[in-house]
């Protein structure tokens, strides 16, 4: 099988990142496609998890009828989701810097 080094690149042509305005959150809710929308949705999900964890902590503190381990699990989930987001962000910044270092 002959290997064409550019096959992989041709199969997935690079597309420009879609521009995202400051009011992007509202746009993302309407199912904006592309990279910007993807990031916005992920951040929203992350935010929702953090709020859930906050609520669970408050409920436990108030002594409401919640299971302690459920609250701790929600907090743990929020923490791990944040870690995941940080790793993705690190990877993105790394890729950006790699490209910026490129000699043209």
């Amino acid at each position: 099988m002959g290997l064409d080094p550019l096959t992989a690149v041709r199969a997935f042509p690079l597309q420009p990142l879609r521009e995202r305005t400051v009011t992007g959150t509202a746009k993302a809710n309407q199912g904006e496609s592309g990279f910007g929308g993807l990031v916005a949705r992920a951040v929203e999900q992350l935010d929702a998890l953090q709020k859930q964890a906050d609520l669970a902590a408050v409920q436990v503190a108030r002594g409401e009828n919640t299971e302690l381990h459920e609250a701790l699990l929600t907090m743990e989930e929020a923490g791990l989701a944040l870690q995941l987001a940080i790793q993705v962000r690190n990877k993105l910044v790394e890729a950006y810097q790699e490209i910026m270092r490129m000699q043209v």
Binding site: L73, L80, Q87
Partner: protein
């Protein structure tokens, strides 16, 4: 999120074991309750666990849930004590069918099961943390 499903399975078991612990505590607390709302002695209660079916075929089950708390129908011990307020015409009092030793064994079992599920949850968490370390280094 799929990432956390194993943690949710363990959490369902923790909830179930806590309920079991509550039922055992209630049994011990009522080991001498000779009068309930129905007028009879307290009957020992037991929890019935049931698996939560998987959401999709080929996936692991969703954990465990308590489907029922049923009373133990075995008769309680009858003690002759005419001075007791709940004694019948013959002076016999029916005590609950709670055996403290059995409840203690059940309690240890519930505590250990809780511990095992907590460790399973920790391991699931550790697996997620390890996955997040893939990009590093």
């Amino acid at each position: 999120m799929k990432l956390f499903s194993s943690m949710h399975i363990s959490a369902s078991a923790l909830t179930a074991e806590r309920l079991r612990m509550n039922v055992i505590s209630n049994n011990i607390a009522n080991a001498h309750s000779t009068r309930t709302a129905s007028g009879k002695a307290y009957q020992r209660e037991r929890v019935v666990f049931s698996p939560i079916p998987p959401t999709a075929s080929g996936a692991a089950g969703g954990g465990v849930k308590v489907v029922a708390i049923v009373a133990d129908p075995r008769p309680g011990s009858v003690v002759h004590d005419p001075s007791h307020p709940d004694a019948d015409e013959q002076g016999n009092v029916t005590y609950p069918n709670v055996d403290i030793a059995t409840e203690m064994v059940d309690m240890i079992s519930a505590a250990r099961a809780y511990e095992a599920n907590a460790v399973a949850l920790q391991t699931a968490k550790m697996m997620v943390s390890k996955a997040l370390e893939i990009t590093q280094g």
